[in-house]
């Protein structure tokens, strides 16, 4: 029986994967072909979605982007045996995009049936947890610390230190919380792993719970990801059925449950303390720190709160050892970074690579430049709170410290590419507007500063006292950066300041127009 893979990934679905799967099943039945359709995650070559893959003795052969109207011709071409077709990309693993990567966190994503516990186990799944059970909680914390893993949510805080803080709290009720409120534009790695390899996140949570002494885990997922909610909920049920969740897991004496909770469209809930408030059923207002969530977290109990990618990387670290992971990367940026290439690009998708790759290589070679065919002008790295990086800085390596040295950030690893039609003063205005819409309102610099920022940029754009207003805007950015309680107000100035610094001409267009 031929095995056909068609992704259930939300991006693939957005490009017609569900209709395609139905059409393939129907065509196979009409032709009397016996096939099994597996709804896998995405391989990350998103420009090829929906990508159909067929298992052949030589490996999996891919066809994409496939539309319903291509189905008959795919069958005619004998695609079930890997036959030639204009949509064929050959053996998927041999594709240059795949070959150039170092897939660590995403090693199973797109490869396995995400809702099959048996397949997960056959692909090294739960080996990390088994090893954790062997070595004991303290050794797990030690291993994670030694790996050098830093939080992939954006802040880059060492994961092991967080875990140790919670583990060192006196025994009692503790929580593991996963931040799946992936709100940054240009990012979709959390979404992809939760759709393509959800059991790795569950295993990571189990290892964490075991290490710190927690028996309950929550995943806080944004409501903008309806497909993830469905897939992840079934993954929880499958893990429960297979005895990987619940009481006395696999005879270890360790109990753990995972519950999925859905957010309600508030970007600020990606901030960890705001997320905890929301989980508790309150307004997502940011808490002042200290106390740290590790001491006083969810419902006032010690809580580990980690990003999806950090947590999903834990099983591999436990399975292969800290050194294996720490040997990847550069400087203090250890391991790999799943980069998300988005916006105006020819080849958008997920590209996991060791830290250190230059930004320009990613944009020009891997992403293939712009989809519009026009020259690249700016890349926003790290979401709506990330800086706009000009082409002149394209030799910057993807590395937390190198970016920080240029007043930029890597954040969650999203890259949004803009061509030369972009108006950077508009993007700066949008940055402030977004902050105004999403501010939780607790602290003044963010709540008022963002609205004043919009107004000031409007004045600049309409040519009123440009120099004085730019000075005022810079001053406002400074206040927001150093006076805000959390990263929303504190980082919202990054796109604005970088636009001012690297693209000053865009703030003086009205003056030029007036002079002409």
């Amino acid at each position: 029986m031929a095995k056909v893979y068609i992704p259930l990934d939300m991006a693939a679905v957005a490009m017609g994967a569900d209709k395609l799967a139905a059409a393939v099943a129907q065509e196979a039945a009409a032709r009397g072909e016996n096939i099994e359709i597996v709804r896998n995650g995405s391989r990350g070559m998103l420009w090829l979605e929906p990508l159909i893959e067929v298992e052949t003795p030589a490996g999996r052969v891919g066809y994409g982007p496939a539309k319903v109207k291509d189905v008959a011709s795919l069958f005619d071409a004998g695609f079930l045996a890997g036959g030639a077709h204009r949509l064929s990309i050959g053996i998927v693993d041999e594709h240059p995009w795949m070959k150039r990567q170092n897939r660590v966190t995403f090693v199973r994503c797109g490869v396995i049936d995400p809702l099959s516990v048996a397949e997960y186990e056959a692909h090294e799944g739960f080996k990390g947890l088994k090893r954790a059970f062997e070595v004991g909680p303290a050794a797990v914390v030690e291993e994670v610390t030694k790996s050098g893993l830093r939080g992939r949510g954006g802040a880059g805080f060492p994961t092991g230190i967080k875990w140790k803080t919670v583990a060192d709290c006196p025994p009692g009720k503790k929580y593991v919380v996963v931040n799946a409120d992936e709100g940054d534009s240009g990012t979709f790695a959390d979404r992809m792993i939760m759709e393509g390899d959800p059991l790795s996140l569950i295993e990571g949570m189990l290892i964490c719970g075991y290490a710190v002494g927690a028996s309950k885990g929550y995943v806080y997922l944004r409501s903008e990801y309806p497909v993830v909610a469905k897939v992840f909920q079934s993954a929880i049920e499958k893990a429960l059925e297979a005895g990987w969740l619940g009481n006395n897991i696999k005879g270890s004496g360790f109990d753990f449950d995972v519950e999925l909770r859905i957010g309600a469209g508030a970007y600020v809930c990606g901030e960890e303390t705001s997320l905890l408030e929301s989980l508790e059923g309150k307004r997502g207002i940011v808490r002042a720190k200290p106390p740290l969530p590790a001491h006083v977290g969810l419902f006032g109990k010690p809580t580990v709160i980690n990003n999806v990618l950090s947590m999903a990387t834990i099983p591999m670290i436990m399975e292969k050892g800290a050194k294996h992971y720490a040997d990847l990367g550069v400087g203090r940026s250890r391991g790999t970074m799943p980069l998300q290439i988005a916006g105006n690009v020819k080849y958008g998708g997920l590209f996991e690579t060791d830290f250190g790759i230059p930004l320009g290589v990613v944009v020009n070679e891997i992403a293939g430049g712009t989809r519009s065919g026009r020259p690249v002008r700016a890349v926003q790295v790290g979401g709506p709170l990330g800086a706009y990086v000009p082409v002149s800085l394209f030799d910057l390596p993807i590395d937390y410290e190198a970016f920080a040295a240029k007043d930029s950030l890597i954040g969650h690893g999203g890259l949004v590419v803009f061509d030369d039609t972009v108006d950077m003063s508009w993007m700066a205005r949008f940055g402030m507007e977004f902050c105004a819409i999403e501010s939780c309102g607790k602290c003044t610099p963010c709540r008022l500063g963002s609205t004043r920022g919009v107004e000031t940029i409007d004045k600049i754009r309409s040519g009123q006292n440009i120099d004085a207003n730019i000075d005022l805007l810079k001053d406002l950015c400074h206040t927001m950066k150093f006076g805000s309680l959390c990263a929303l107000g504190g980082f919202a100035p990054y796109p604005v300041e970088s636009a001012l610094r690297h693209f000053p001409e865009d703030f003086r267009k009205s003056a030029l127009e007036a002079a002409e």
């Binding site: 679905v13 490009m15 534009s185 207002i285 988005a342 916006g343 958008g348 999203g414 803009f418």
Partner: protein, 157 residues
Amino acid sequence: MAGAAQYSDERAREIIAAHMGLEGPAMPILHALQEEFGYVPDAAVKQMAEALNISRAEMHGVVTFYHDFRRAPHGRHTLKLCRAESCQSMGAERQARAFLDKLKLDWGGTTPDGALTVEPIYCLGLCAHSPSALYDGEPIGCVDAERLDEIAAEARD
């Protein structure tokens, strides 16, 4: 939304009671209420405040904090257009503006026949297929003006 049930205190009480065993049940209850009635009616907010033993003001504060929770019925269909940076890099802002102008709506507005509500959304994680949209919960990538017109027509039927 299509198929939303008429509000009744009794049904609201049932929904609330079904979630009371959860830790921090407010958000799951609000989602369930909106799923059932198409919005979160004020009468249900009052019921929630009583069940959770918090003031109505506090409960009101929670409902109004989150963009997703609606306080009044919406159009029969909802189209959410992404306004975030990645979609803007592919011209989403201009496209959305033109579409809204054509329907004579502003963000959050509903067509006079009650067929379609158009809301902004800030990132669907479909950033390699910008501009993107969500129509009655169904994701759509690489949305163009033609597709938007089709949706507007579909919604009217």
